[in-house]
Amino acid sequence: MAKGKSRTSQEVNAGSMADIAFLLLIFFLVTTTIASDKGIQNLLPPKQDPNVPPPDIKLNERNIFNILVNANDQLLVEGEYIENTELLSEDIKDFLLNFGAPDEDAVALFNGLPQSLKARANRDPKSSDHPMSGGAVVSIKTNRGTSYEKYLEVLDQVKRAYFEIYAERVGLTSDQYRALTGKNPAEKALIDKGKEGIPLAISIAEPDKIGGN
């Protein structure tokens, strides 16, 4: 009995398995959207209480890096018209690390910076005092007609300037620094060390009413 059966066919024909698997594969290929929760993070300012007037913060003009984007997506950076955003992040880094009039804390911060960042300090009295809180701020102002794409491009460059400074301080590349998640203490320490004393000071002004709806 057993012998007779085993003689007829010992192998299962597995050739069509591939076809079945292919069908399933194609189904999943088509329905897949590989989740991409990537983007540029932004923290909005807290809401304004209508009864409390907005705090009157005195900032010197030299401490503000003004970026204006108009409804035609043209850029005015520190009063000068520029064609594209390629060199913007370098300008911002120079501005942030200017150390024009540092106080004691800022001097201590400056001494803790790596050599490559120290070299950026031009000590120009017309540029920012120091990058600590109460110091340099990057301001982005748009019109209502400015395209979202251009706004994000500018914000991207500002973020890039900050991340490159942070990464430089901890000896990583900017990509590595941004990939830090802060899940374990070692990564969190790196993130904090990069940011220490140089807060992300990006001010996004309310757009004015030109060219929009």
Partner: protein, 153 residues
């Protein structure tokens, strides 16, 4: 002709028994990475490009807002609209929506809610800033401008 015949004798069929295994491996990869789309997107979505991308870790804290021109222009017009969940909403309804999304989270995580704004690149800043204003009012201040990667120059 004789030469050809000799060659064909050697081995005629390729062993295909390992093929299903390979395909299955691919299949499992896609099954694991797949997130089945839960909702139809009613607005156009061409995400802008950026270089300084960061990934969000906790997926449960993310709520999505889609902003763009409606795909069905006859029904909804050509002005950019906001889509939350399955429906197009007005800008002033965002506060209500945020509160609903917050209710889904546990008490401790409510203030950590992150809004991932998937806005089309052709949208103007006007609608975007209106949305941001509403989000500030709703106290959902963590915002992610969803964008795709670009090679850094």
């Amino acid at each position: 002709m004789a030469k050809f015949k000799k060659k064909t004798k050697t081995s005629e069929n390729i062993p295909t028994s390992a093929l299903p295994d390979i395909i299955f491996m691919l299949l499992f990869f896609f099954m694991v990475t797949t997130v089945l789309r839960e909702q139809d997107i009613l607005v156009e979505q061409k995400l802008p490009q950026a270089t300084q991308l960061q990934k969000l870790e906790k997926k449960t804290l993310i709520s999505y807002l889609f902003v763009g021109k409606p795909k069905n222009a006859n029904l909804y017009g050509t002005e950019p609209r906001v889509q939350a969940n399955d429906v197009l909403i007005n800008t002033k309804d965002i506060i209500l929506w945020v509160n609903q999304e917050k209710d889904k989270l546990s008490e401790a995580e409510r203030d950590q809610i992150t809004i991932s704004m998937k806005a089309d690149r052709d949208v103007k800043m006007g609608p975007i800033s209106d949305i941001q204003f509403e989000l500030r009012e709703a106290d959902a201040r963590k915002l992610l401008y969803a964008s795709t990667g670009k090679v850094q120059n």
